[in-house]
């Protein structure tokens, strides 16, 4: 059996990157995820991999572009303001169809905000913070184990679809320690014959670009991307359900807030409230279908987020008015306690009964 370790989420992610065969990491320090760069600065050279502290997040993401375009497994990580700076680069990477893993250890915003955990970057992550029509596959870990597991998954999905994958974590999951096991992993064979590794006589030149100056060709390119995103929507939806079988009510929450909801669920069930939890694991593609099914079963959905209400829009899009979708959130790095969530739930139940 693989050894169990006790690690911070950020460190587990860094270790997983090494085990997943990450060839290069480019990053710039920012709380609460500087451990990633620090860990890799220590460990990557031992494996003859590249780790590079860039001069900024703008440089990081464009170094990722270069290395990914040359066919290497490439990664960067940052936190909210740093991810905002990467938006142009992310749009270029998506446009040029380069596989890479980007990690956002979300802190509370807007602006400089504070360094405490938050989920205020949901929209930026799933709707597109950069310009133009593109999508990233967005994975939302809820434990240290998933911080590690989703690195493998993220790299594999990136390679499979030639698309950037974003892992959207937060400061709490990044900083907390839990047990973690590193599964043995074999990197799937992927065709990277498109990469710019130097043009041998036997093939035409490769070039990496997101530029198609003629609208006709650009539209073709857009349609090709949309085809891919459709494929992703059809094949890569991931979520976890707990206690939904008999549920009258449903929590919808991801990442850290899903963990808090789990505790709230335990408390509520002790009180006799039959509530379940749907935890989206992929935020894009989103489990619209399953939520629509559950809308036929439950009386109310309560979305809990560490923001002012972002994912709740996707829940509403899913249920199309079939059931009330309520929202409870805290902001600014404040955490809702399981108890206050239960209390909010009870109020809602009363309210919806009254109606």
């Amino acid at each position: 059996m693989t050894e169990t370790k006790l690690m911070k989420g950020n460190e587990a992610m860094a270790e997983a990157a090494i085990l997943a065969g990450c060839d290069a990491y480019f990053g710039y320090p920012i709380t609460p995820q500087s451990e990633v760069l620090e860990y890799l600065a220590r460990e990557m050279p031992k494996h003859n991999r590249i780790v590079m502290q860039a001069e900024s997040e703008v440089a990081s993401i464009n170094m990722v572009y270069g290395a990914a375009g040359a066919g290497f497994r490439t990664m960067t990580s940052s936190s909210s303001p740093g991810i905002s700076l990467m938006q142009e680069g992310i749009s270029y990477i998506a446009g040029a169809e380069l596989p890479c893993l980007i990690v956002n250890v979300n802190r509370a915003g807007p602006g400089l905000g504070t360094i405490q955990p938050g989920q205020g970057d949901y929209f930026q992550s799933v709707k597109g913070g950069g310009h133009g029509d593109y999508k990233m596959i967005v994975l939302a870990p809820a434990s240290v184990q998933e911080m590690a597991d989703f690195v493998y998954l993220g790299f594999d999905l990136a390679d499979k679809y030639r698309n950037p994958v974003l892992m959207l974590s937060d400061g709490a999951i990044g900083q907390m320690m839990e047990k973690v096991q590193f599964k043995s992993y074999t990197r799937p064979a992927v065709d990277k014959s498109w990469a710019t590794t130097g043009k041998p006589k036997t093939r035409n030149r490769n070039y990496i670009t997101s530029l198609f100056i003629q609208p006709e060709r650009m539209e073709q390119h857009n349609l090709k991307l949309e085809e891919k995103f459709k494929h992703i929507r059809e094949n890569e939806v991931r979520f976890e359900e707990i206690n939904t079988a008999d549920a009258d009510y449903l929590f919808v929450a991801y990442g850290l807030s899903a963990r808090i909801c789990q505790k709230a669920m335990d408390i509520a069930r002790d009180k006799g409230i039959k509530i379940g939890l749907l935890r989206p694991i992929t935020l894009y593609p989103y489990p619209y279908k399953r939520l629509e099914e559950l809308a036929a079963q439950v009386k109310t959905m309560l979305t809990v987020e560490l923001n002012s209400g972002q994912m709740v829009e996707d829940v509403r899009l899913a249920v199309k008015g079939k059931v009330a979708v309520e929202f409870y959130g805290r902001m600014g790095g404040m955490m809702p306690t399981p108890e206050e969530i239960v209390q909010h739930l009870e109020t809602l139940i009363q309210y919806h009964h009254a109606n």
């Binding site: 170094m63 040359a70 680069g89 590794t197 130097g198 043009k199 030149r205």
Partner: protein
């Protein structure tokens, strides 16, 4: 400035010239390099970009490194460089070519990597990536086409626009009191220890072309030896935005541009520095 003279081509230009077998007494002495794609280029008549593309590809052909060379195109008029250079290339976001080059080169230290950038790209929006790449001594070649304007977006002021020069965003001429003086990128970057070879050249006459080619040859050679960053600045014309004919533009370079941007080598390695290759990490 030496003016154009009536000279025989130097040997560097002859390397790829085979005998002309279908014309008994004539031999081929100059042709478009085979490392260029056989298409017409989109550049304006007389634009320096096209000429410099050709020179780079001549060097790549002569050094026989087409298979090992990766170029990075900027955003600017030369954004389509990959349509003309028959090598693997990446198109970088505006200003970020040196970061992209770093990403490529660090993972393939034995490939030849060069960026090709305009003055808006390199000296305005991309100055941070450029400066830091050079400071790290990235073992790449930066080809810097300084035409003193933003060509592609139709002639706005660049960081290298001459004092008093009229552009669409400096309609009364660049006011150095308001916008500062043109930045002398080569002199500035040469200060950084990571810069191994820095030179400023032009391509507005045949001898200038020869010297520029020589500079590019040097730079590729130093890269082979893992010596650090080579920066080849080229004062090139942009007849369209200078609102001149190509010939007037060539003259403008000799008469005006060189006052601010004197041609010649700015930082050259000592003889002993280029004898042995350096470790590949730098």
């Amino acid at each position: 400035m030496p003016t154009e003279e009536h000279v025989l081509p130097d040997t560097a230009l002859d390397v790829v010239a085979p005998a002309c077998h279908d014309e008994d007494e004539y031999e081929l002495v100059y042709h478009k390099p085979h490392t260029m794609v056989d298409v017409s280029m989109h550049y304006c008549p007389g634009c320096a970009h096209s000429l410099v593309h050709k020179l780079i590809m001549e060097v790549v052909e002569e050094m026989d490194i087409q298979e090992q060379t990766i170029g990075i195109a900027p955003v600017g008029c030369s954004v389509f460089a990959y349509d003309y250079m028959d090598i693997d290339m990446q198109e970088a976001a505006h200003g970020r070519a040196c970061a992209v080059a770093t990403g490529i080169k660090r993972l393939m230290p034995d490939k030849y990597v060069f960026t090709y950038q305009g003055d808006g790209d390199l000296a305005a929006i991309g100055i941070a990536e450029t400066l830091h790449a050079i400071n790290r001594g990235e073992n790449i070649l930066i080809v810097f086409m300084n035409n003193a304007v933003y060509g592609m977006t139709s002639g706005q002021m660049a960081p290298t626009t001459l004092a008093g020069m009229h552009t669409t965003t400096s309609p009364d001429g660049r006011d150095v009191g308001y916008y500062g003086s043109p930045i002398k990128i080569s002199e500035l970057m040469a200060q950084l220890p990571g810069a191994f070879y820095v030179t400023r050249q032009a391509v507005n006459n045949a001898n200038a072309v020869r010297r520029t080619k020589k500079a590019l040859q040097n730079a590729f050679k130093y890269q082979q030896l893992h010596k650090g960053t080579c920066l080849v600045e080229i004062i090139g014309n942009c007849p369209s935005n200078w609102k001149m004919t190509p010939i007037e533009a060539s003259k403008f370079i000799d008469e005006e541009m060189v006052k601010t941007f004197p041609l010649g080598d700015i930082k050259v390695p000592k003889a002993e520095d280029i004898k042995t290759p350096s470790a590949s990490s730098g």
